[in-house]
Amino acid sequence: MTNLLKTPLFDAHVALGGKMVPFAGFEMPVQYKSGALKEYTFVREGGAGLFDITHMGQVRVTGSGALAFLQFVTTNDVSKLAEGQVHYSALLNDSGTFIDDITTYKISDTEYYLCINAANRHKDVAHLQAQAEHFDVCVVDESDDTTLLALQGTAAQAALQPLVDADLESIGYYKFAQVQVNGTAGIVSRTGYTGEDGFEIYIPNSMASEVWSQLLENGAEPIGLAARDMLRTEMGYALYGHEISDAVTPVEARLMWITKLDKGDFIGKQAVVDRKADGPKQRLIALKLTGRGIPREHYQVFVDGEPSGEITSGMHSPMAGGVALAYVKPEHAQTGDLSVEIRGKQVAAERTTLPFVRSNVRR
């Protein structure tokens, strides 16, 4: 086991009573003193929740071939991005399964910025650099130098505005601006993983402590990984290693909306086309328990009394009850009586639509 990494905010987490746990190679706070439920509630009920997500990776792609490169290595249509716009996308391998899911930021026609998952960072960077040899681009991993904070909840904008030189009101959903954060260059996007309005803030590590402290002074509260997972699961957002992995394609994962088959060739395209034609091997569904209990990851899902698949993410939602995402056999995506096996007992469930609770993102 290699040593766990620490973000520049490690001491700040410990000082706030953060319970530190291993996560994607880092020591990260799973919760702070008040506990996951109170943190969750603070974000859902009008606060400004502050998350250290510095474990995530950032890659800058520059050069005259940047667009052609990203069209080939990512699934979404990068030609549709305007400067200052972000979209959700994915990296696939030749078999059409996920290397990672990412967000792509367009800075200019010759410069893009990618945010990638911590656990996949080295795999992603190696893949991108290998593919870059065929294009006129430069791929630089900036992860070690970059602190990433998420500030989520209705009060996020008011807490962040005093620190930045741009009018945040002018940044729309999935838009970003290159701004000065306390006088140092950074990126602020109106994006997140919670279903609330809010921002993600990319700054140099040297600014981490100062910005973190000021946001707390402006009324933000620190939020740990446990509450973050509750918030994202309630939205039905995919998480690598759960809903998506190198075992599923966008067809199974209900991510064809970020997979643009009409944009020209890209890695994994043919496999996705074939999988679409042959039909998926399994389907991701959203379910809600009608009986008592908490559906959890890896619990078996039954349809008409027969095993059909398993839960990839599940939780007790304070607002929606026992909810889960699960893969089931394709013929069970729409029909058949659902149940979840919890400690040897079948607990009744029903299909539902996503998100499990109302999203408050600014459309």
Binding site: K19, L37, K38, A226, R292, G293, I294, H316
Partner: protein, 124 residues
């Protein structure tokens, strides 16, 4: 952290209050603190016979599922149904309103610690 002197404790962090031939079970303040916010408790059926050391209930926190083991053997005579609606009572009042089950004491017990011994055990 509180460790009341009138209770006995197990190394699995349960407590038991023995009152004549009845025992009341719960989990310790240390246990609820370590588990974090409890969001679900699966209670045993009244009338169920349980052995000392047997898993008789399940507490689920936001992130974890944990078995709760019986400090002494016996037959379940009452369960704390309030936990079905308010599982957080285990967090807020682990030795009081957060009790889990009562049994009529039968045979057997696991190693039980008094408050001083449990305090020492936690420090080790």
């Amino acid at each position: 952290m509180t460790i009341p002197a009138d209770l006995k404790y197990t190394k699995e962090h349960e407590w038991v209050r023995i009152d004549g031939d009845t025992a009341t079970f719960g989990i310790s303040d240390h246990a609820q603190e370590a588990l974090g916010d409890i969001v679900f408790v699966e209670l045993p059926e009244v009338g169920r016979s349980i052995d000392a050391g047997e898993a008789y209930a399940v507490v689920e926190s936001v992130k974890a599922v944990s078995d709760v083991y019986a400090p002494v053997g016996g037959e379940v005579i009452e369960v704390n149904e309030a936990l079905e609606g308010e599982p957080e009572l285990v967090n807020t009042d682990p030795y009081g309103a957060g009790w889990i089950a009562k049994v009529s004491i039968g045979d057997g017990q696991v190693e039980l610690l008094n408050d001083d011994e449990y305090t020492t055990f936690l420090e080790e």
